[in-house]
């Protein structure tokens, strides 16, 4: 039985990785101008690589210099950012659903998104948008710290209290945000744009930043077995030898760190962190050792395609619009199909 499941999940993982690689190549090719895959490949691979490594311009080694510029300077960072942000949100969503034992939880559930939005709005209104990613990151992680601190009594922070405190704090932040938006005047449009999320301004600098998402995801995968036990409930986890309070702290802060980076890069994109873990749990089962990596890859692919569609066909509409527009009906479809079985 177990080997059967193992083999099936292995196949799922293989399909996902292949789909990711294929999506990556296709997404580089597709865009307002379609670029044939053949022009990605340098005519002289070794000198192109050595030029890249020594920091020189590798363009001369490619068949088409314009195509090189579009693919490697514009599209590649954007594609990689979409993959990493999608993966990060999916991983953080998986962690939150496991912690709260609720497949309705998402990375933003404990005030992360409203904290980030508040931070971004402060940067936009008072600093003209300077340091916006920093403010968004600080808002996201700061909100989590605050929720945790408020929910803790006698060294314990029960998940129910965390959840409720998160909801309360979200509302409080939203109120301040609404006030800022109300009094923002011309920059209101900018705040709204940021909140819907998108990859318009992504460059290579963001990619180096988003490598931190991978580091965070790695920590989550290392703790996957503990999360399995914790997802049975806090008391059961105590009985089975999980250091529950410490582990919850790790889980919350790593997740909010990942989410904070994702939000700093692309704004608060919704639905990825909710639907991906849910769908992948239906496919590979609830074991977080399998669920984390597969949900990450699936979340990356999902966000990559949502972004490719918007920049190719929809005049760069905020990608958050697409994820929710496609994701919500799909989610309902899944729920209805599942309840029939």
């Amino acid at each position: 039985m177990l080997t059967g499941t193992g083999r099936r999940n292995g196949a799922v993982a293989l399909v996902l990785v292949c789909a990711m690689l294929l999506s990556l190549v296709l997404a580089l090719s597709i865009g307002p101008t379609t670029i044939p895959v053949s022009s990605f490949v340098p005519s002289d691979l070794s000198s192109a690589l050595s030029a890249l490594l020594s920091g020189e311009n590798a363009a001369p080694f490619f068949p088409d210099a314009t195509a090189y510029l579009i693919v490697y300077s514009v599209r590649l960072p954007r594609v990689l950012a979409a993959l990493l942000v999608g993966a990060g949100l999916a991983a953080a969503g998986t962690a939150m659903q496991g912690l709260f034992r609720n497949s309705m939880a998402d990375p933003y559930i404990i005030g992360t998104s409203s904290g980030a939005a508040l931070g971004a709005a402060v940067a936009i209104v008072f600093l003209g948008g300077m340091f916006l990613p920093v403010f968004a990151f600080v808002g996201a992680t700061g909100a989590t710290f605050l929720v945790y601190a408020l929910a803790t009594r006698n060294g314990r922070a029960p998940v129910e209290t965390l959840l409720l405190t998160g909801v309360a704090l979200s509302m409080f932040f939203s109120a301040i945000l609404s006030f800022l938006m109300y009094s923002a005047g011309k920059s209101l449009h900018q705040i709204v744009y940021w909140m819907m999320g998108g990859f318009w301004t992504v460059g290579w600098g963001d990619i180096y930043l988003s490598l931190l998402i991978i580091a965070g995801c790695f920590i989550l995968i290392v703790y996957a077995k503990d999360l399995n036990v914790l997802s049975l409930g806090e008391e059961d986890a105590v009985h089975l030898g999980v250091n529950v309070e410490t582990f919850k702290r790790i889980l919350l802060f790593v997740s909010s760190f990942i989410t904070g980076i994702a939000v700093a890069i692309a704004g608060s994109i919704g639905f990825i962190g909710l639907i991906t873990p849910h769908v992948m749990r239906l496919v590979v089962g609830p074991d977080h050792r399998v669920l984390f990596p597969t949900a990450m890859v699936a979340g990356g692919i999902f966000l990559l395609w949502a972004d490719t569609i918007t920049r190719t066909f929809l005049g760069d509409m905020p990608v958050g619009v697409i994820t929710a527009f496609v994701g919500a009906p799909f989610f309902v479809f899944l729920l209805r199909r599942r309840s029939k079985v």
Binding site: M1, L2, T5, G98, R101, N102, S103, N154, V222, K225, N228, V229, S231, L232, G233, E235, D236, V238, H239, L240, G241, V242, N243, R281, G285, P286, D287
Partner: protein, 415 residues
């Protein structure tokens, strides 16, 4: 050995349990009983470190509970909680395998030993056939057995059970408790029980809790007494000995504890006195009915060891007794005459009559002071072992005005 020393714990500002001192010797099976809200579950939580001790301490094998590393504690102490709701569709085998979590380091994978222990735990609890099923799809009773299997997979030396079998059918209750008891001297077991008779049947010692404190501690015989049940559960109950296991058995009596304030039931006339002539269990039901309705009941002549004798003495009645299988002598007959004369009414129940107890009926036939009623419930009859002498005596009693009644209600209303 696991012990608690003046342990107090609770939620919020209030202590739910206080001053709990107990110790379990190696391999012992201890049952915790007590009415709802007496702090049984809180005690289990405090002993398993889910709840921190306010004052006092829990020690396991001489070490303070707080000093255990989480995984080390889980390898030492297994807990089966009252109810576990699993939200995600882990398979049964996945859940039982989580019992091996405390035996793993962070990066170790499941070893053949882990699989062996898990298979064994599933076989012992009778869930091997469910191994691949999602735990969200099985029944509540099956799920509880999965959780018990998970605790067994931890291979603990101490096992805490919080009403672990309360949701199971009687066959599974007995099966699981037998398995737990059969864990033997290597595992010390402490379990909360709702069912007093199960606690009595399986536990070496019983702890009675009420109001957050330990009220009694000792063998089932010492703790399951009529006085303890009346004081802490507020019920009146017969305590009898299980005919096979010899353990005490609790038979609750309906409504008797509220006798004094009873406004329901038959209109009782407390001053009335009833004498019951019965035997072989024919009078037990009536005794309870009558005493519950407030009558003062006497009974006899009965043999020691007759089930009616046991019931009557358990209910605290005045019983006229002779040694088993001995004839009724003139002294007893005189005593019976006095008792019958003192009663307002005498009830004779349908029962087997032989030379040994015919004298009872003859006394009723001879006397004329007290009215007699003959109680023959549906399906009951007088069985004659006297070569026909019974008929004559019965006819004599009836000729003196005795009436036959078939229902206890009619009996009571005619008094």
């Amino acid at each position: 050995m696991i012990r608690t020393d003046r342990l107090a714990a609770g939620y919020g500002a209030e202590d739910i349990i206080r001053d709990i001192c107990l110790d379990a010797a190696e391999g012992e099976f201890i049952g915790i009983i007590g009415p709802n809200g007496s702090g049984k579950t809180t005690l289990i939580k405090a002993m398993s470190r889910v709840l921190a001790a306010r004052t006092g301490a829990v020690t396991i094998e001489g070490r303070l509970l707080e000093d255990y590393d989480p995984k080390e504690l889980a390898r030492t102490l297994g807990v089966v909680p009252q109810e576990t709701s699993v939200r995600f569709s882990y398979t049964v085998k996945d859940i039982v395998m989580m019992g091996r979590f405390p035996h793993h380091t962070r990066f170790s994978r499941e070893s053949p030993e882990d699989y062996r222990v898990v298979e064994e735990a599933m076989a012992v609890t009778g869930i091997a056939h469910l191994a691949g099923r999602p735990v969200t799809d099985i029944s509540g009773g099956e799920r509880q057995r999965v959780i018990i299997a998970r605790a067994l997979a931890q291979q603990p030396r101490f096992l805490l059970l919080d009403e672990a079998t309360a949701h199971l059918d009687i066959n599974h209750q007995v099966e699981i408790l037998s398995i737990i008891r059969a864990l033997g001297a290597g595992v010390t077991k402490i379990g909360v029980f709702h069912d007093l008779n199960l606690a009595s049947a399986y536990c070496d010692r019983i702890i009675l809790m009420a109001g957050g404190e330990v009220r009694a501690i000792g063998t089932p015989e010492a703790v399951l007494t009529r006085e303890n049940l009346r004081e802490h559960y507020g019920i009146d109950a017969l305590i009898q000995t299980h005919p096979v296991t010899g353990r005490p058995m609790v038979l609750p009596l309906e409504g008797t504890a509220r006798r004094s304030s009873s406004s329901t039931g038959s209109p009782a006339t407390p001053s009335k006195r009833v004498h019951l002539v019965c035997g072989g269990g024919s009078g037990a039901g009536l005794m309870y009915r009558l005493s519950a309705s407030g009558y003062e009941v006497t009974t006899g002549i009965l043999c020691d060891g007759d089930s009616d004798t046991c019931t009557a003495s358990a209910l605290g009645m005045n019983v006229l007794c002779i040694p088993p299988f001995s004839p009724i002598g003139p002294a007893e007959t005189a005593a019976l005459r006095e008792m019958v004369a003192a009663a307002d009414v005498t009830v004779l129940t349908a029962m087997p009559v032989g030379p040994g107890n015919l004298a009872n009926l003859e006394v009723l036939c001879e006397q004329e002071t007290t009215p007699v009623m003959i109680y023959i419930p549906e399906g009951g009859e007088f069985t004659d072992y006297t070569d026909g002498r019974l008929d004559a005596v019965l006819r004599c009693i009836e000729e003196k005005g005795a009436v036959r009644v078939a229902r206890p209600k009619d009996l009571l209303s005619s008094f």
